[in-house]
Amino acid sequence: MTTITEESAQIDETEKTTAPRRRRPATTLVVGLGIVVAIVLFGLVAPFFTQDPLAVSNDGMQGPSAAHLLGTTQTGQDVLAQLAHATRGSLMVGVIVAVLALLLSAFFGILGGYLGGWLDEVFSLFTNVVLILPGLPLMIVIGSYVEQRGLLLIAFVLAITSWAASARVLRSQTLSIRSRDYVHAARIAGEKPWRIISVEILPNLLPVMSSGFVFALITAILGEAGLSFIGLGVVGTQTWGSMLFYAQNGQALTLGGWWWFVPPGFMIAVLGGGLSLINFSIDAIINPRLRNAPANVRRVQKAEKEAGA
């Protein structure tokens, strides 16, 4: 009720008439999904067809050729094979971290926001403290104490430093949904809290949560890359970050081996770009103004041009 009276009548009229457009998926979404699917397929399938990424040969620091499509490393390893395995590794770390971060943010954000009271105070204080502590330095400290850095440990360290931002968003969204009429109705009808959360609240949070998940995925992949580049990544797993670490240490820069350090960073950038494009479309669902306002301006310009012609 209050949300609608806040909108002016003019906006009401516009929204009503633009509603049917929502059916057609945006180009950004299609492109974003295309990029992400292509990279995921590359990570899943390519490792079965490439050479052994660790096999050393005498052809060190060779540029791209028919035998090695992306050239070789200093020790003659095939860069394409490494890239394929690194894609798999980075994606695996990213997905695990994003899932963990999603669970953590849902726990602290939704539970705190729904239950309110002192629990909410404590939860949001905790969230804000975690949010403000710089992530990478903390990861470096923890990472350097542990000799056996397994996949799960690194994923956990990345997750505890990346859940807070979306927890804060989820909390404020939960607060606004909690005060809606149908939630009041459910509560008065004697529904159990967990049922209200899962049936009445969670479905409404899905866009925000998926946006948070995609964001966590980007942060995780970037964070892992940074950590691995410093040499504190997962021991024994190849990722884009570890490739860059070896490239930097193998003098790829000074020896001119661009084929070694360009592809992994490029993959990170493109995957991140694809994920951001997906997030763009989700944002437009959460906040219709973002999509409608620019589109409206364009349509009027187009109509004016046609009328003038």
């Binding site: 906006i11 350097s144 104490y145 970037l222 410093i230 001119g256 950038a269 306002a293």
Partner: protein
């Protein structure tokens, strides 16, 4: 009231960081004290006081109750005693930090301010001119945002320093030409060396500010007070700046904490690429040398700096948003 609440929050955050710093070495496996002490012993004699300071900092078993250790640890921190650095033996950690901190403060501070200003300005324009060709720049900006800081740094070093020789490959200044002092030769040389690291930070963090500001502008422009301003016949520049941007910038300022975290994390790795003599590069050195005292001291100082920057921004927010003033 508002200010007191904020101060309270930052005290809690500071306490959390300090306590975390105390428990990490005690909770995680491995025995850093032995590692550090044995390394120190290689370099020269270790006097009992130093030994005790390191044991308090990194946690040793024979030091009485945990509470006693904690109190001792806090006392050492207040006294500025963070132990001795292995890497730069026998320099105290606090002194190593004192030498590297200014480099990072200037580099990260200046690049962050520049990025913020450019990003907010471009975002304001992109939001104001919504529905024009500027919209097509948005996806490009998004991709720029996903480029890892250090990879961009690698590309710059490779293209501009190694191949074209326009910029130095590493370091903070030319040690053969100038020595640190506040004079023109040194400052100009340091600026020359800082250019690429700064450019990296600016380019990689610009997208976030720009996009956030642009989206807020688009939302703000559908607010009623914009309509009022248009009906009043105000000049478009005044509507754009005083009515739209002035409101749209608020979330960017209040979201500064999150952004700064990214920038700081990014610059640590950027410094390592350029071997820039700041906090980040020093932190990497400490990691490579298992110099735990230095590492933890650095973690503390980074956290304190980030908290201080955020506190400053929070206080500024109180000035630019009158609504927080009233609540206080």
């Amino acid at each position: 009231m508002h200010v007191l609440r904020k101060l309270g929050f930052y005290l809690v955050a500071l306490w959390a960081a300090v306590t975390l710093n105390f428990f990490i070495p005690r909770a995680l496996p491995g025995s850093p004290v032995d590692a550090v002490l044995s390394k120190l012993a290689l370099r020269g004699p270790v006097d009992p006081a130093t030994r005790e300071a390191i044991e308090v900092m990194l946690g040793a078993d024979d030091q009485g109750s945990l509470l006693q250790q904690y109190v001792q640890y806090l006392a050492n921190l207040l006294g500025g005693d963070l132990g001795i650095s292995v890497t730069y033996f026998p320099t105290p950690v606090s002194q190593v930090i004192g030498q590297s901190l200014p480099w990072t403060l200037v580099l990260v501070g200046v690049s962050t301010v520049i990025t913020f200003l450019i990003g907010i300005t471009l975002g304001t324009l992109a939001g104001w001119k919504r529905g024009t060709w500027l919209d097509s720049l948005i996806p490009a900006t998004t991709i720029m945002q996903s480029v890892p800081y250090f990879w961009l740094a690698l590309l710059f070093v490779y293209a501009l320093s190694v191949n074209l020789g326009l910029f130095p490959i590493s370091g903070g200044y030319d040690v053969t030409l100038v020595r640190p002092a506040l004079d023109y030769p040194f400052v100009s040389n340091a600026m020359y060396y800082a250019f690429l690291p700064a450019l990296t930070i600016v380019l990689s963090s610009l997208g976030g500010w720009l996009l956030g500001m642009r989206n807020m502008m688009v939302s703000t422009l559908s607010e009623d007070y914009i309509l009022t301003a248009e009906a009043k016949g105000l000049h478009p520049r005044r509507i754009m700046l005083t009515y739209a941007a002035r409101n749209a910038v608020l979330p960017s300022v209040s979201g500064f904490a999150i952004s700064l975290g990214f920038v700081v994390s990014g610059s640590i790795v950027v410094e390592s690429v350029f071997s820039y003599p700041g906090i980040g590069f020093t932190m990497l050195q400490s990691v490579q040398n298992n110099d735990y005292s230095l590492m933890q001291g650095l973690f503390l100082i980074i956290t304190v700096s980030v908290l201080a920057a955020n506190l400053a921004v929070d206080l500024l927010y109180g000035v630019i948003d009158p609504r927080t003033r009233a609540r206080g």
